[in-house]
Structure formats: structure tokens, C-alpha cells
Symmetry: C2
Subunit: 371 residues, 2 copies
């Protein structure tokens, strides 16, 4: 089923160099933080704890307003290649991926997503002349908005010859929502020892780790057509659309479950469980099944469990931190919506670290440097 004895391939070897981006990020974060001082003149105030979280939150009085912009990344390159190989368009799924990047981040703060804006920057006007592909993008975008109950407000469809490569498209989404009532805010103030960690199933790689996944395809003799499970090709599996988690967070509030904290498991894999600044030890006692495409990538890249779980979602696309007594009900609400979920661990007093006990994996607090 798979080719044997692969040469290891790290994320850096796959072309993403975080050290070149990070100094700029630090400067940008400092400059951005200083601008919060403008809000009181309008009668509002920043929720400072949202700096460094997945969405930015402003207290506008009767509720909190949250906003975000998120890039899809390079998953379209897989869709383009698969369209070349199969003649089919995968852009309906790609549209869902793009909205998921924004919506799944926005909901971590407790916001209900209300409005999505589309950012579709093509390498030239001719990108839009492939009618099937363009219509798939529109239909998939609309369908994802329907799942999330958000209004598609509008957007931009620039043709950027000379900036975006010919035949390619740069996709992103912005999302604005409200935390309403304000008690839904889930920035971690209530996160406490004894809380349970509920993991929600991913559909596959989602939209993080694609640079690595594409590099691996280059060295497979059958490329994206390699089987990762009987009847399931690598490219097809990579293109499984990202799960949209906002129906779960909305249903939890309706069911009376208060989410203490939430983490969208994207880049940095399970290290995202360490995101909150408070010092806690997170102990995972059971891990969800690994989707075939992620098991295949781990095997092909020669990653041990630490590298795999520190980079990819490995079957868990979203984490909810809730009171222990709410844990089973949280999982049941998600399962009722068709999203598999597991009560997978607990929050403990202790230094900031993560144990994934069934795998013998340990991540220190320093292994995630997002702030």
C-alpha cells in the first residue's frame, strides 16, 4: 500500500521557515498591541486577553465583537494538481476549507460567527473563466456558510497578475461575530485544574501541513494517486474538506454547557493544547483514531509520534476545555451533530506541559511560542 523506508522530511525542509517570519511577527504584535489605546475614544475597549488568541475581541457594551482574517494556505495547489489528474474540480471543498480556517478560529473565543467575507485573489482574470471551477467555489462557499449559519457579506475577487502566479488563486476569509451573551466569552478565565479535555474529530489533514504533504507527493512514484487506504488515493484524502465546528459550539451553548477554553488544532498540531498562558499540565489519556492520510504522512515523512503530534492534528481538529461534569454531554452533543468526539484528557495543576500518555509523548510549555 505504501512505499517503504522513507527518508525523513521535516517541516523546515518542506519550505516553511518560521524564523524568517517570526521577528516580523514580534514587531507587528507590539505595534498592534499599542493601537488598542484608540478604542476608548469610541466608547469601547479591547479585551486584552484576546491578544495572542485566535480572534481579536472588543467589548462594545452589550456584547463582545470578535473578528479575524485567515488564509487558506497552499491546499489549492493539491486541488489544482488533482483537477489535472482527474478532470474534476475540488474547489467546493476548498471553499469549505477556507471558511473553516476563519470560523474555527473565531469560535474559540466564544463568538457566534455572523458574517463571512470572501477574499479570492487570482493570478489573472482567466482564472474565473473555468466555469465549473468557479461555480464550485461559489457553491462550496455558500454551502459552508449554510452549515455555519453565517451571512456571506461580500468580498473581493481581484485579478493580481504579477503577484499571484498565473493559474493560481490566493484564498482567504474574514469573519466577524459576536459573543452574546457576554458570559459565553471563552478566553480561559475559568480554565481550571479538574477540567476535562474533549477532542473533536478532524476529517483529515484539514488545511495545515500541506507544504509537507505536497513535498511527500513529489517523491511518491504514483504521487497523489498512491493509495493511503483501500480505494482511497492520497490526493483525494488530502482534499477532504476541513470540518466546520461552529454548529458544535452553538449547540453546546444551547445545551447549557459553558466552554472554558477552546483550541483550534491547526499549525503546531497538538502543541496548540498548550496555547493558554496559564500554567497548567494537560494530560491526555486516550487518543482518537488517526485518519489514514495522516498515518500515511507520518510513515512517509519518518516522523516519530512527537513530531507527528507536534505538527499535524492526528485526528483531533478541535479541543474543548469544559467542567469535568459536562465532558460526556459535550462529546454527546458533538456526536449528535455528526462530529465524533472523545473525552480524552484532563487539566491538572502543575507546570505548563502536555502529556500524551498512550504514546509516551511529552511537550514542554516552551515547545509552543505563539506570543
Amino acid at each position: 500500500m505504501t512505499t517503504p523506508t522513507p527518508t525523513p522530511l521535516s517541516y523546515e525542509q518542506a519550505g516553511v521557515q518560521y524564523d524568517l517570519i517570526d521577528p516580523l511577527k514580534v514587531a507587528a504584535q507590539r505595534a498592534a498591541a499599542a493601537t488598542a489605546a484608540h478604542l476608548p475614544a469610541h466608547g469601547f475597549a479591547e479585551v486584552a486577553a484576546s491578544r495572542g488568541e485566535s480572534a481579536y475581541v472588543v467589548d462594545v457594551g452589550p456584547f463582545y465583537m470578535a473578528s479575524i482574517v485567515e488564509c487558506l494556505g497552499t491546499k489549492t495547489l493539491v486541488a489544482d494538481e488533482m483537477q489535472r489528474l482527474t478532470g474534476r474540480s475540488y474547489f467546493a471543498g476548498i471553499a469549505q476549507d477556507t471558511i473553516a480556517m476563519a470560523v474555527n478560529d473565531l469560535i474559540t473565543v466564544g463568538a457566534t460567527p455572523l458574517v463571512v467575507q470572501a477574499y479570492w485573489a487570482a493570478g489573472g482574470s482567466d482564472w474565473f473563466s473555468d466555469g465549473d471551477r468557479a461555480q464550485a467555489l461559489v457553491a462550496g462557499w455558500k454551502a459552508a456558510c449554510d452549515v455555519c449559519g453565517v451571512a456571506w457579506g461580500g468580498g473581493e475577487t481581484p485579478a493580481l497578475a504579477g503577484i499571484v502566479e498565473a493559474g493560481r488563486i490566493d484564498l482567504a476569509a474574514s469573519c466577524t461575530g459576536l459573543v452574546n451573551p457576554k458570559a459565553r466569552l471563552s478566553l480561559g478565565d475559568e480554565l481550571a485544574a479538574g477540567d476535562a479535555i474533549v477532542l473533536l474529530a478532524s476529517s483529515g489533514i484539514h488545511a495545515n501541513g500541506l507544504s509537507l504533504a505536497r513535498k511527500l507527493a513529489e517523491r511518491l512514484p504514483q504521487g497523489y494517486l498512491t493509495e493511503v487506504a483501500p480505494g482511497l488515493g492520497y490526493g483525494e484524502a488530502l482534499l477532504a474538506p476541513t470540518t466546520l465546528y461552529s454548529p458544535v459550539t452553538e449547540a453546546l451553548w444551547q445545551a447549557g454547557v459553558k466552554v472554558h477554553y477552546a483550541a483550534n488544532i491547526t499549525g503546531h498540531g497538538w502543541r496548540k493544547l498548550l496555547r493558554h498562558p496559564k500554567p497548567f499540565t494537560y494530560r491526555i489519556h486516550s487518543v482518537p483514531p488517526v485518519p489514514p492520510v495522516l498515518a500515511f504522512i507520518q510513515q512517509q515523512a519518518g516522523h516519530d509520534a512527537e513530531e507527528a503530534y507536534g505538527t499535524l492534528n492526528m485526528g483531533a481538529g478541535f479541543a474543548l476545555f469544559v467542567r469535568a461534569e459536562d465532558a460526556e454531554r459535550t462529546a454527546a452533543v458533538a456526536c449528535g451533530l455528526g462530529v465524533d468526539a472523545w473525552v480524552a484528557g484532563r487539566v491538572e495543576s502543575g507546570p505548563k506541559q502536555l502529556f500524551i500518555e498512550p504514546l509516551g509523548v511529552h511537550f514542554s510549555g516552551e515547545s509552543l511560542a505563539l506570543r
Copy 2:
């Protein structure tokens, strides 16, 4: 000062083909409109009149929430070339341009911009290794936020090798704001015959028409170093940062001036004055001075007044429609903030059309098809 007898160059010849984009736009607009039905489930409602306007507006009860995402376009290609020619970075101004694209659109609906998110998608991690350029981008972004009184919430800095061209960056901004109090909403309900049209000065080309401007540079013997006025080079003039108009709209509200309608004059030039769906005749009796760079482009491209004013801002970057008795005060408020302004025309009963009387130019209502 300029080269003689140029060959005419249209916008389509410059590489932007609207007919390939528009069928997709129509499909997207229809799909987007249908998603408004999701908002009542959250207790909110779309402000339907904002569909087709420059920002999308939702009634969230105590105020209206407005949001938008906007692309800079290809102005960075001029900045890149000028950096090559002069060794200087122009990305502080480019940052202002990007924020202006979003903020100047958001304020047309009467919203106070509150949060900006940055979207900086580079062709590779190495874009960020030019420290001067990256720091200029950060500093310019912060400075523009300071001018507009908005909080910089965060953003994305993806490295998109294979999608964005090596050495290039795709810049966009999302902006979220509130119309507060709700009486500030300026979607044109109050637009009426007898209203005055006040035009606010542009700083130059702003960020629309750059494809045409770049094409012209290619056929100039001295390219971007050609003088458009004594001591002012073409590239330097093109890179004048876009004027930020939100201080003006905020000050007008403070001064008790109710804006009936507003138009950000970007693509389609002065035809944007025809944006509102109501049938009115717009009569301009005086035109502002034309910035040297726009006069140069008009002359070089061989455009008559109709083509120039139908494509470029020609010195007017923003239009405010106010009661006739507020017109002089509106202009005075803008001038007091350092933005030149002119009471330039009036709204009349009659079929939808625009007369620019000093130039003998007439645009019919059909000349602008944005919806």
C-alpha cells in the same frame, strides 16, 4: 517634461478583463444574498440596502455592525520596482494604501472603523528577511491605524510559495466597525434632490488604475524616473499613499453634519458617483485640480476626459452627499483636517446620469454596472 504623441491604452489593454470576472461575481452575489436568511436565527438581521454597497451591514440591535475585506491590488509592483531603482522602501506608504482600501470603503455606510486585521501573504518566508522593508510595512500599518483611530487586531502572514510569486506580497485588510448611533447609517435613504456633492481631494492615483499606470511605465524611455512635474518622478508620484478619509467622516458627525450618502472613488472613477440605486441626476459644476500624476497618465494614455474621469479619481478621492445647507461646513471640516474639499455639484431630480459640466462629460446610469 513628457514624451509626445502617445498611443492610446485602454484599461482592458492593460490586462484587466472585467467580462471574465463578472459572471462569477453575479453568481457569488446571488449565493451571498441568500445567506442573509441565517441572521434572524441569531436574533439579528441584514440591512438589505447594504448589498451592493461598499460594506456589508447587519442590524445587531443597539447598533449596526459593518464589515469588509479589501485587496490592495498591484501597487506593490510599483513599490518593488522603485525600491530596485532607488534603494528605498516604499512599504510604509503601501501599508497606508492597504488600510485605506478597507477603511475608506467601510466609512461610506456611516460606520466608525474599529478593528483592522492584516493580511500579508508573501511569496516565501524570505520576503520577511528584508528587515527594512518589513519594518516599514509594520510602521506604516501602525501609523495608518493611528490616523484612523482603529485597533490593529492581528492578522495573517502566510508564506505562499507556489501561489504568490517569489519576491512578491499580496496585501489586503479586513475592517470591522459599528454605525453608532444607528442614525449615522448613510446608505442613501435620505439622499434627495437638492443635496450638495462635496468632493474630497485625492493624493494621487491612490490604489486604482495601477495596471494601466504600470503599462505606461513600460513604454516610457525613463520609466518610473520620468518627471511628471518639476522634481517629481512618475514612480514617486504613483506611490503617494492613499488619503485616509475616516477622520473626516468622524469629525462631520461630531460637527452635527449628517452624511446622506458617500462614495469612495476607486475603480470606475467618477462613475462611482452614480452608485446609489435611486434615479437621480448628478450635476458637477466645478472640478478639483488634477494631480500631476493623473494628468500625466491621461496624456500618456491618450484618454479624453470621459475615459479619464470614468477610470481614475482625477483629484477627487471621496464624495459626500449632504444637505445643501451643510455643504460649506462639510468642506470646512475636511479642510480643517488637512484634506482639501470642494462643494462641487448637486443632486437633481431626473434620470440617473452624471454631468461634469466644466468638461462637457456625460455618463448615463448604465455606465456603472456594479450590482
